[in-house]
Structures are given as C-alpha cells and as structure tokens.
C-alpha cells in the first residue's frame, strides 16, 4: 500500500516516515554520487556556496546512462549508498535530511539521521529502465564535466521509495 508524497517535504513529514513504509514520491530530487559528494565536501570545507540548497534537497545516489534523443533520461537506478557514507554526516550537519539509494548505511550515518531527524530511503536497484519512466524532466545543476556523475535536478512522478532508515534510527534493511 503506497502513499503519495510531494516535494518539498516538510520537516514534520520526514520525521514521521517509518522504516518499512512505502511511498510514491513526486517533485524534485537531485542526483549526486561519489565525485559530486567529494566536491560538495570540499566546497563546505572551503566555506564556499553550494550549487544546491542542502536544507531542502533530497539527494538521489545515481549516475544515469546517456539518453536517446527522444528520451528525458537514460537508465537511472540507484547506486550503492555506502560509498557516500564518508561524506553524509558532514552534509547532514549542513542541512541535508533525506537521501535515496540502495543498500545499507554505516552506524555514523544512522546516528546522523537520528540527530537531524532525517530519513534514508531505498528504491529498486538494478531497475534503471523501470525507474526511467518515473522521471518527467531533467536539468544539469552542477559539475557537468563529471558527465554521469554531475548533479542533475530530476522532476519525478510516482517514484517508488521504501523507507530503510527513519528518524528514530529504525532500519528494515539487513544492517
């Protein structure tokens, strides 16, 4: 049974999400994976302005395939979240509250999620063609030189989520 949620998600909404619950998300999410996270961390450390507003952005760990001329985006499933564990507590300290990916997170990340009352959701790993149909618009926001690893703003409709770690630190994924 899936409920619909639309961005921007309020703090109260994110805090109330519970591990194991399933949702269909509509609105805007921002892709960022390994290299983009490294760049964002460097910008934070140098006290420079970030290309996205961490306080309102939902980050989706994803590096899509190139799209055909008729397509908005290529295959776009989630990449393994734990590779971004190193950077996540820092980003959460600077406003980030919700992320979408696949796989488990470290204890440091779970602790950071609890501290800022955030949430971590998973979506269908290896199902890039299925998720392609949930993306209705795409825009490059930052680091275009990174190609598939750039930060893209994706407008999504009925993007399926399963809450994996909630604001209480509960988890439904094999940690």
């Amino acid at each position: 049974m899936r409920n619909n949620i639309t961005t921007p998600l309020t703090s109260a909404t994110i805090t109330r999400l519970r591990a194991g619950e399933e949702y269909l998300l509509s609105g805007e999410i921002f892709t960022a994976r390994d290299q983009a996270h490294k760049k964002l961390a460097e910008l934070i450390q140098k006290k420079k302005k970030l290309p996205i507003d961490l306080a309102t952005a939902i980050i989706y760990y994803c590096g899509p395939t190139p799209e055909k001329p008729s397509e908005i985006i290529g295959s776009c499933g989630p990449t393994t979240s734990s590779r971004m564990d190193l950077f996540t507590p820092l980003l959460m300290k600077h406003g980030l509250r919700m992320m979408i990916g696949k796989g488990k997170r470290s204890q440091d990340v779970i602790h950071a999620i609890k501290q800022c009352q955030g949430a971590y959701a998973i979506t269908y790993g290896g199902c890039g063609a299925y998720l392609q149909e949930k993306v209705i618009a795409r825009e490059v926001i930052a680091f275009p030189e990174l190609g598939p690893e750039a930060i893209y703003k994706l407008t999504v409709r009925d993007f399926p989520l399963i809450i994996a770690v909630d604001s209480k630190g509960n988890s439904c994924i094999n940690h």
Binding site: S75, Y130, N174
Partner: protein, 279 residues
C-alpha cells in the same frame, strides 16, 4: 585456414554489447521467475516482480537494464585454423566503443585507478585470450557491474581445509555482500589454480547456464549446499529479507599447489549480463 576481417569482429562485439546491456538472459529470467514463485516474503516478491518488469521495459524501450552498464570483460577463444587480418585487441575495443554508442551505455571507465579521468569511450576492455582447435573465433562478453564486483573476494585456505571450511568461506563472502550488491545474486566460485586463476574461473563460470549442476560430486554438493544455506541468510531481494538471496551458485575448479587452496568468489547481481557468439 579461415581469414576473419577485424571489421567482422568489431560488428560482432558491438552487437554483443547491445544484447547484453538491454536483453535479460533467458536463464536469468527463468531463475527470477522461479524465485518469485518460491519467495516467502511479500517485500521479496514485490522486488522480484519489479526486476522482471524492468527486464520487459528494457527490452521494449531499448534501454539498459541497469544504469551501471559495467566494465566489459571479453573471453576470446581463437581457433588454431583462423587468421585475423589485423589487430584483434583493436577490433574488440572498437566493437565495445561502437556498441556503447549504439546501446547508450554509460561511459564508466577511468584511465587511472587513482587519477580517475574518464576515458570517455567506455574502454579499455579486459580481454582474456585462449585457443580452440578449429577455424572459429568465440567471443564471450560479460558486462560486470561494480556494485557486485566490489563485494567479490579471494580467500587463500589451508590445503588441509575441510569441506565445511570451503563452504563457509564462500558463505561469508555472500553474507558480507549483503544488500549492497543487488541480491538475488548469481555466485561464481573458482577453486584451485593460483590466486588469479581462481579469480578468473569465478568470473568465467558466470557465462554458464543457471540451474545446471557441476559434474563432479563434491562440487555439485557444494553448489546445492551453498544455494540452500545462502537462502537462509535472510538477505533477500534488495536486502529487505526473504528466501531469495541467491539465484544460483556455480563452481569451477583447477589443479593447484600442494601448499594451497585458493577460493575465489565472484558476486554477480540479479542483472547478470552476458552474450556470446561464434564466428
């Protein structure tokens, strides 16, 4: 002596790339359908249904099954009665470049493991060469995604290791792979040879059809025991729990040194993608 033009190899490899990236292997599809029928958890069944639906959409919409279109690994068997009119490595590489463009694969290769500049061409290719006693060339392409490659491992056991120790070494790799490598997995196990030979066998065996057991008794028993025990680990599809943690386990062995027992485990995800052709 048959002559094969490098252009023929390039075209064949390009077709293999598109086939592997976009079309779910029939034996993988059957294994996923069987898992769906036997999966005990609701979450598990739902994930398996989406995986199968994704396969249909990838085929219909001509889009890669997974956005990690992997690193191309080619096993090239050259017949002793074949002559290639030109560079074989160049022909294969051109084929991967062409297929990458045609199938809209992701350019996922960096030229240096530390400096990390994207090559932009999705090459170079990892190529293994072998021989065959005829006038043909066999090209076997595997697209290896790195979510699962990152969870693969080699363990050097003592030569006196018991069956249970070998089994547990493999189970441990599967356990450590957990939700991150996109279960349900196809597990390749290479036992014997040297460290690198075992690792190569563990990957090679991923080409073989799922559901077929090894012909040697202890290997067949190992495959069946591993499938049974891995499916009690409660990792399940996407790591949400369930009884479908592995679709199959396949073992390949080679003679080895009296002081060693290398055991390599190549974890492959539910998008185990390969295609083969004989020219």
């Amino acid at each position: 002596m048959k002559t094969i033009k490098p252009q023929a190899i390039t075209e064949a490899v390009s077709d293999l790339i598109v086939q592997a990236a976009l079309i779910m292997r029939p034996d993988v599809k059957r294994a996923l359908e069987k898992a769906l029928r036997t999966e005990k958890s609701r979450h598990g069944r739902e994930v398996l249904s989406v995986i199968l639906e994704n396969g249909k959409k990838a085929r219909k919409n001509r889009v890669p099954i997974c956005q990690d279109t992997g690193m191309a690994v080619v096993y090239c068997e050259v017949g002793t009665k074949v002559r290639v009119q030109g560079g074989l490595e160049e022909a294969i590489t051109k084929g991967v470049i062409a297929g990458t463009k045609k199938g809209c694969l992701r350019r996922s290769i960096v030229s240096d493991p530390f400096l990390r500049k994207n090559t932009g061409t999705n090459t170079p290719v990892v190529i293994h060469y072998g021989w065959r006693k005829d006038n043909k060339i066999k090209l076997s392409l595997l697209l290896k995604g790195f979510g699962c490659e990152n969870k693969s491992a080699v363990v050097m056991l003592n030569p006196t290791a018991e069956y249970a120790t070998i089994k547990d070494a493999v189970l441990n790799v599967i356990r450590m792979a957990g939700p991150n490598a996109c279960p349900p997995f196809v597990i390749g196990v290479g036992i014997g040879g040297t460290l690198d030979k075992a690792a190569s066998m563990a990957k090679e065996v991923l080409f073989e059809p799922l559901g077929k057991r090894h012909t040697v008794a202890w290997c067949s028993r190992l495959e069946r025991d591993l499938i049974k025990e891995a499916n009690t680990l409660q990792i399940g599809p996407l790591g949400l729990g369930g009884t479908s943690t592995v679709l199959d386990v396949k073992v390949k062995t080679f003679p080895t040194h009296i002081a060693g027992l290398p055991v390599a485990v190549n974890v492959s995800c539910h998008a185990t993608r390969s295609a083969e052709v004989v020219l």
